[in-house]
């Protein structure tokens, strides 16, 4: 039962009880990302503060449990951290997801996001997990531009 390794309790928890969902004001940048192959969508806003702080990551979207839970975990990890820290988490998460299940996850960096390790074995689902994370990276870049 391979699925057990993909649908971790923590993922289902975030899916059923998404954290920080909903679009909020104020924000510095808003992006809209789509995964055309499955129709998953996310609209995501970031609000940055002094000292490179991430004050808020707010989002709305539709998609599978993986994409929804990934957005929720992203919200938790990024909000309150610094831009730099959060982007290094994004990088590590991307490396894990694109590793085809061969990459060892760095739990210290990833925190809860390590629960997605099982998704990496399913190439078709990797994009779901990455959707909001890529949107976040994009939004941060735009806020700084």
């Amino acid at each position: 039962m391979i699925a057990e390794s993909m649908y971790q309790e923590l993922i289902l928890e975030h899916y059923k009880h998404p954290q920080g969902r909903g679009l909020r004001e104020p924000f510095d940048a808003e992006v809209h990302h789509v995964n055309p192959t499955c129709g998953d969508e996310v609209t995501l806003r970031v609000k940055l503060g002094d000292g490179g702080k991430v004050l808020d990551v707010s989002y709305d979207g539709q998609g599978c449990s993986i994409s929804q839970a990934a957005a929720s975990v992203l919200h938790e990890l990024a909000t309150g951290s610094t831009i730099e820290e959060s982007l290094s988490v994004v990088d590590e998460f991307t490396r894990l997801m694109q590793g085809r299940g061969q990459v060892e996850a760095d739990e210290d960096v990833l925190g809860d996001a390590v629960a997605f390790a099982g998704v990496a074995k399913f190439p078709a689902r990797v994009k779901c997990a990455l959707l909001s994370w890529m949107a976040y990276k994009d939004a941060v870049l735009r806020s700084q531009a």
Binding site: K16, C38, G39, E41, S65
Partner: protein
């Protein structure tokens, strides 16, 4: 005529993959034949035997292997012509898949090389399709419209998943050059009635094409009865291998069309500055064709005939009725498409409230070994029409059983438990 007795357990024994165990000890429950069908040993063995003992290039070679391959390849053409009731074997063009067959026809229109009025297309001319088409019967016509400035129009789909013919007379008119319509929808299962549309097409002097990719595998399709101008279908959905598709076309039209792909075997004579072309069907078969694949498709057609298309249709109809009833009991499950077995095939798409099809498909596969397809099934506009990004689809073939439908139902209950 009584339907020959049909023994699904005996049929299943012909398909080696059906006794395969998936990783983790899951049995395979294959409910994705609308995507691509499995292959009986008869097809696999014919291909292996051909590759191991009879292979040579076709047409060009005089030697023993060349003759054996040519005979096997052309015999496959005969078989397929007979299978779909073509009045001549020369009306069967081998392509690599249904998509190429449709593109072949689309590229005949608005081609500056063409000299036949019926294939002339420009601004003001219209092409008509439907909202329930597979992308392979949408994009070729969009590209044609873009190349020529013609206008693409379409029939809409009702809430029940039927074609709306309310505006038939307005939609198909004197400006229409071609109407191309799916015979059986790969999402809704709907089998479209061709004759009312064809009558109007003939009235206005346009041409008509049928995308029969989902009908030829599952019911007796007779191109003479259909009486349209072009029919496309594809080998891998009808027990044949990948890499082979078929275009049937009226000989007179195939002859009037300009060549599509240029190269070896489609020529009569070549000079550096011009060429003359081979008679149909070879005019449209440039280069070395999918030889072993055609031979495999011939074996598939033999197999289907030996079982009997009427028996297959009847079996799938029973499965479909059983499935519609069983799924109807599941709370929050919404069937997208006709809810009765009338004028529909064995393809059932649905949504589960609050659960994304990707999650449905993944749990079904990972936990139960049930292979369904999830997504928009290459029919995104149809999903947009229903306001949904994706569906879960179970599609049946002669080797499926009611026990497999039961497994699907159990699996869906489990999915609801996980995500409930």
């Amino acid at each position: 005529m009584s339907v020959p007795s049909f023994d699904v357990e005996r049929v299943r024994k012909d398909f080696p993959i059906l006794s395969r165990e998936l990783p983790g000890g899951r049995p395979l429950v294959y409910l994705d034949s609308g995507n691509s069908s499995q292959k009986p040993a008869q097809v696999i063995d014919t291909m292996r035997e051909h590759l191991a003992q009879h292979y040579g290039n076709v047409g060009r070679a005089l030697h023993a292997l060349g003759s054996e391959s040519t005979e096997a390849y052309e015999a496959a053409r005969d078989k397929i012509a007979a299978f779909v009731g073509a009045s001549s074997r020369d009306e069967i063009v081998f392509t690599k898949n249904a998509s190429e067959a449709i593109n072949l026809v689309a590229y005949a229109f608005g081609n500056p090389i063409n000299t036949d009025e019926r294939f002339r297309v420009g601004p003001g001319d219209e092409i008509v399709i439907t909202e329930m088409e597979h992308h392979s019967n949408i994009v070729p016509w969009q590209l044609l419209a873009q190349r020529t400035g013609a206008t693409l129009r379409w029939f809409s789909v009702t809430d029940e998943g039927r074609l709306s013919l309310d505006n038939l007379d307005e939609l198909v008119n004197e400006r229409t050059k071609i109407v191309s319509i799916v015979h059986q929808s790969n999402v809704l299962g709907t089998v479209n009635s061709i004759s009312p549309i064809l009558a109007r097409v003939r009235e206005v002097g346009a041409l008509m094409m049928i995308d029969a990719s989902q009908s030829v595998p599952h019911q007796r399709v007779d191109v003479a009865d259909l009486d349209v101008d072009f029919v496309a279908f594809t080998g891998h959905k009808m027990l044949g291998p990948s890499g082979i598709g078929v275009l049937w076309g009226r000989r007179e039209l195939l002859e009037a069309m300009p060549p599509f792909l240029g190269g070896g075997e489609m020529i009569e004579a070549v000079w550096m500055d011009h060429s003359t072309y081979a008679p149909v069907p070879h005019k449209f078969e440039a280069g070395t064709p999918p030889i072993v694949e055609a031979v495999g498709l011939g074996a598939a057609v033999d197999y289907l005939t030996s079982i009997g298309m009427d028996a297959i249709k009847q079996h799938e109809r029973e499965l479909t009725g059983y499935t519609l009833d069983a799924l109807g009991e599941i709370p929050g499950l919404r069937i997208v498409g006709p809810r009765t077995v009338i004028a529909r095939g064995g393809t059932v798409s649905f949504t589960l409230e609050g659960i994304h099809p990707h999650d449905v498909g993944q749990i079904l596969d990972d936990v139960f070994g049930i292979a369904v397809r999830v997504g928009h099934h290459c029919a995104r506009p149809l999903h947009l029409r229903f306001g949904i990004p994706a569906t879960t689809r179970a599609s049946f073939y002669l080797y499926n059983t009611t026990a497999e439908v039961d497994a699907l139902v159990r699996g869906l209950h489990h999915v609801q438990k996980v995500f409930g």
